[in-house]
Assembly symmetry: C2
Homo-oligomer: 230 residues x 2
């Protein structure tokens, strides 16, 4: 009988789970994995791993994010701890959930596919194992909150992006449309994006100017308590 194969309830296991968001085709996406190992083999889940006794939680998060996506230096923050005693039927395991924002690009696509992962539109997230749907819900709420006073949206866009692209991202997060004239004005008053001499012509004949994010200016404003609310 397999029932008690994973009943390790005598001590704490510490895990991390990563709620990974991306943005493409004007939609906010969640990266979901098809588990290749037991328990829950074949089910859908976030990526996660036990934290090793010799590493910190944030090191563990970085480790597994790189393992599954090949990405380093990703925007990743702690969401919260999930610790209900029966949250995992196999282990007495607390999970410290982390949310990450990544730029979907050609490089990530390959690695993501290799790992049996798939991007899901955040409006149609499938059933995930354990409390992973709850984690996703909480992470989305957190992002909605934070995007109000930090321009984290940039983390989801390619290095070079257009203002209409940025607007679509904000619209996806806020779940409402924004006026393009007012959005442009507001973003430009923040004075943290730099206009480039190139245009992106994928979505219009006229083409839209590309911009890049000015991290140093952003940091200064951030430290002085600037708001960035759209």
């Amino acid at each position: 009988m397999k029932k008690n194969l994973y009943q390790k309830k005598d001590k704490f296991y510490v895990a991390v789970d990563c709620i990974i968001f991306g943005f493409s085709n004007g939609k906010l996406k969640l990266l979901v994995f098809n588990r290749k190992i037991d328990p829950f083999k074949g089910s859908l889940s976030l990526i996660g791993s036990f934290v090793n006794i010799g590493e910190s939680v944030s090191d563990a998060s970085k480790r597994i994010l790189e393992e599954f996506t090949g990405l380093k230096n990703v925007y990743m923050k702690e969401l919260k701890t999930y610790s209900l005693i029966d949250r995992d039927p196999g282990y007495r395991c607390i999970s410290i959930a982390q949310y990450a924002l990544i730029r979907i690009g050609d490089d990530t696509k390959k690695i993501v596919e290799e790992n049996g992962a798939k991007w899901f539109d955040i409006d149609i997230i499938p059933n995930l194992i354990l409390d992973h749907n709850q984690m996703t819900f909480d992470a989305l709420k957190r992002i909605e909150e934070i995007v109000r006073y930090k321009p984290i949206g940039f983390e989801l866009l390619p290095e070079k992006f257009t203002i209409p692209q940025l607007q679509k991202l904000y619209e996806a997060i806020y779940r409402r449309t924004l006026d393009p004239r007012n959005f442009r004005k507001k973003i430009l008053t923040f004075d943290v994006i730099i206009k480039l001499d190139e245009k992106d012509k994928l979505s219009s004949k006229k083409g839209a100017y590309l911009y890049k994010f000015d991290y140093s200016k952003y940091k200064k404003l951030q430290e002085s308590g600037y708001n960035f609310e759209i």
Copy 2:
């Protein structure tokens, strides 16, 4: 030799530490404890405890908060996890820090004293054990952030409070003075405080009207995404 008395580094211990803030005499205060047991007996620290295998992190937080202050139903939120491998010389212990906002009153004073605790002005926090100073610093930063869009300040005031009192609290958190006329206007536009028919005459001859917080109105606004920024 006592050296290895607490060297339990073979498995994870999970702890909670509570960063407890209060407000009195126009100053934001931190509750600091004098440890009565080893390790670190006699040193100053936040209150903390190991999480029992049979309880969740939030249950553990509530348990120790009540143990040390006698208070239930306190505003308490998870701050973040502290998990560096050498953060505690005795155990391989991760701590999930919680910050709490309490109303300093006659009831708390007694219990606080019994437990060898003391309120410290946040500008003159003494050396605490382990990473507790870091936790305090991080908690203060978090509160500064959150108070910008949630009226958590009310959690620190008595049930009945005056507008000038509320203003002093905001001034303590923001670390700057506010215009009393504009502050009053702004707070009243939120429409979440109810004017009572009583006055508080402790700080002026004229006396200031007492108000109470309207939780139900607040909740509704909160859910609709209202901002509450001062």
